[in-house]
Symmetry: C2
Subunit: 112 residues, 2 copies
């Protein structure tokens, strides 16, 4: 965490903690990441695996992840249209963080 001097005094988007948090926060985000950790997916297969997510939100999440360079989108030729979403190297770099989130969450629950 930030050093004693040079401490951030307010939430800044370029603070590393905020950067990482931004990458995984937002409803459904971690679940979308989990699915993509298992491999590539189309828009539709993601919806199949997360049946209750609305197209708008899924679309928003995928766009945000792409803008952060965590996910790539590829339009496949042919008809009907198909799309392929996959994690980038940076996206895969989130795995240890997700593992740590899981680990910490379990510790908190058992501690309670």
């Amino acid at each position: 965490m930030p050093s004693p001097t040079g401490r951030t005094l307010r939430p800044e988007t370029d603070c590393p903690v905020e950067v990482a948090l931004a990458a995984v926060s937002g409803r459904w985000t971690t679940l979308v990441l989990r699915e993509l950790m298992h491999g590539e997916h189309s828009f539709g297969t993601l919806r199949d695996r997360l049946p209750e997510i609305s197209p708008k939100v899924l679309s928003e999440r995928l766009l945000a992840l792409r803008e952060r360079g965590l996910v790539t989108q590829e339009r496949l030729p042919g008809f009907p249209v198909r799309t392929r979403y996959a994690l980038t190297e940076a996206g895969r770099a989130l795995r240890p963080l997700l593992v740590e989130l899981y680990r910490t969450g379990e510790a908190l629950r058992s501690g309670t």
Copy 2:
């Protein structure tokens, strides 16, 4: 992360990942935690160290952290009133997660 079977299909508050995320999310939350990681604080010293946080938000964050069992509040006798906030054992258990957030955030930035 959740096992192949028994995967969570939607965001549920008792999913470990959500539990951990809930503990650290919300604007200012990680900064308040950071200050408390350094030691106990009163409401006022927290405001001094985070000059731009509003009393309402600080109050909300501290309450949420208390409700999750991450922070304790102690009213000190005497006048004027003083209060002391400190991390619980569970609260201190968040340190590795904060470190991992920082580490991941830096990796994302340098990767960009």
